[in-house]
């Protein structure tokens, strides 16, 4: 089987999320990549070095500069003339583009796969991860998004893919990129952080997030996450949200502070290796999944913990 992986990048380098997708694709067959963007020679060169990669298709055109699904999907559809499957990371860009490709190919997408069971059979979470379905597809062409935490990351070196230019399919003229506000942070990205410190509604305001959660994260070199309640209340930006509808994370250590443990939150972090919970309510559901729990007032406990580390 010939697979195509849509490469997520920021214009300068390949995003980590792509690497797990390469691993998933390699379980299906030969791996080709697509780098679409504007001025992406550097990204393509980097992509060609990913272990196990055969060919890197490069589409360099202004129409692809902001990964608009309306423009990228037709390009992928063209390439699917000689590929059997296309895989995307289950990131916001991947989730935005993949279904449009599937519809244009008249196939049913398989979202967020956790494993490749065979050429046509995959497992995927449903009901916020409260059930795992094994699904088999009848479609000849496969369109798949891959959950990054479920596959090892392919090595970024060792590959020697050949780079091939592909013709651009143009701007469809139905959508225009206006701008973006991407938070710059010195901290590790949530989806690749080894340790995550997360805060919930109990933090009460953004000031407390700064003075209580962040120093602990800094001490541990950790990423910072949050529950939806904390995001909705404006304590932190939306991209901090962990859960069914936020980021799916699986770090070595996840420290949940003042988070009750609603199923929608658990959906995003219950595959973490070790879960530590700090909560004043000893019956909080988060303790049912926590490996280590400490019952008490976070305003007392967390500063003390930060001080003693």
């Amino acid at each position: 089987m010939k697979t195509l992986v849509w490469v997520e990048h920021d214009g300068a380098s390949v995003k980590d999320a792509t690497l797990a997708v390469v691993t998933a694709a390699s379980q299906l067959g030969e791996v080709h990549l697509l780098v679409a963007g504007r001025g992406v020679d550097g990204v393509a060169a980097e992509a060609a070095k990913i272990a196990g990669v055969g060919k890197v298709h490069v589409a360099d055109d202004a129409a692809y500069a902001h990964a608009l699904a309306e423009n990228v999907a037709p390009l992928i559809v063209d390439l699917m003339g000689h590929h059997d499957a296309v895989l995307f990371p289950a990131t916001s860009n991947g989730k935005n583009i993949a279904p449009r490709v599937a519809a244009l190919l008249d196939v049913m997408q398989i979202s967020d796969i956790l494993s490749v069971e065979s050429d046509d059979t995959f497992t995927r979470p449903i009901y916020a991860g409260n059930a795992i379905a094994t699904v088999q597809t009848k479609d000849a062409k496969k369109v798949i998004t891959v959950r990054g935490t479920a596959f090892e990351k392919a090595a970024t070196t060792g590959g020697s893919g050949t780079i091939e230019k592909v013709a651009a399919t143009g701007d469809k003229g139905v959508s225009t990129y206006v701008g973006s506000e991407i938070a710059k942070s010195e901290r590790p990205e949530l989806t690749s952080a080894k340790i995550i410190v997360s805060g919930g509604r109990a933090l009460q305001n953004s000031e407390n997030f700064h003075t209580i959660i962040e120093p602990l994260a800094d001490k541990l070199g950790a990423g910072v996450g949050a529950s939806r309640a904390a995001v909705d209340a404006g304590y932190v930006p939306n991209d901090y949200q962990v859960g069914q509808t936020g980021k799916i994370v699986a770090p070595e250590v996840y420290i949940a502070i003042g988070i009750s443990g609603a199923i929608q939150h658990l959906a995003g972090m219950k595959d973490s290796k070790t879960i530590i919970a700090i909560n004043k309510d000893e019956d909080a559901p988060i303790f049912q999944v926590a490996d280590i729990g400490l019952v008490g007032d976070l305003f007392k406990i967390v500063p003390e913990l930060t001080g003693k580390l």
């Binding site: 699904a69 449009r100 599937a102 400490l294």
Partner: protein
């Protein structure tokens, strides 16, 4: 301007899903079902756009007869009319998108607002598929919508922050959680909704083949995590972190 809002009936988000012992799926017998939370947000947004030139809101559901309840809820919130496409069998996002594309051909809405994902199958596909089939612009994961006479500007929640796009109309939008806070229907509005029109159709009426492409071979419960230990104080927690190599 006309807005079309597809709404799905799903297991209420407060109910803990139970996997059936025979591994065929999640048990939906005698449990509370509600409108998909993202679809409530979509209905709410359409209603709020009524101050911005929207004159009619049509809600659509594809599903079993009981989806009438879900449509009535949307009508009680403020939608004007409903279409139920009856299918007792589950219809996949591709089939739903094809049916919606036909309804769009008939109804010619200026805007279609869907939820970003249905919280039962967590597919996150239908809106993007519909936009692809229609060849129109799509703005997924919307947190802000500004409508003008011939375009819509949407702020989207993306990894790392937010992004803004402008689409020409007609266009497809899918909602994220922070777009708005949906209203509760008042009792008088619930009563009024009972007399609002609801058309009944079938996939055959639209000539759409909705036979599934995916077969679910089995559904299992994920590996259970078990509660670990409780430590008595910070010192004990620090000792654990050191033993794990997380702290020095």
């Amino acid at each position: 301007m006309k807005v079309l809002v597809p709404v799905k009936r799903v297991l209420d988000y407060n109910v803990k899903p139970r996997v059936k012992a025979d591994g065929t799926g999640v048990d939906l017998a005698n449990v509370k079902m509600s409108m998909n939370p993202f679809d409530e947000i979509a209905v709410e947004e359409a209603i709020r756009l009524k101050d911005k030139g929207v004159t009619e809101i049509v809600v659509v559901s594809i599903g079993e007869q009981k989806s009438q309840e879900t449509l009535r809820t949307a009508l009680a919130m403020g939608a004007d009319r409903a279409i139920l496409v009856v299918s007792e069998e589950k219809v996949e996002p591709l089939g739903v998108a094809k049916l919606l594309a036909k309804i769009v051909e008939e109804e010619k809405p200026d805007l279609i607002i869907l939820g970003k994902q249905a919280i039962d199958d967590d597919n996150n596909q239908t809106g993007q598929m519909l936009a692809g089939l229609l060849g129109v612009g799509q703005a997924t994961f919307a947190s802000k919508v500004e409508l003008t006479a011939d375009s819509v500007t949407v702020t989207r929640e993306v990894d790392g922050g937010s992004e803004t796009e402008m689409l020409s109309l007609p266009a497809v939008i899918t909602t994220d959680l922070r777009l708005n806070e949906p209203r509760y229907a008042s009792l008088p509005n619930i009563m009024k909704a009972k007399s609002k029109p609801m058309a009944q159709k079938t996939p055959a009426d639209y000539g759409v083949d909705v036979s599934p492409r995916l077969t679910t071979l089995k559904v299992i419960e994920p590996a259970k995590r078990t509660a670990g230990v409780k430590v008595a104080d910070v010192d004990e927690l620090v000792a654990k972190l050191k033993a794990m190599g997380v702290a020095k």
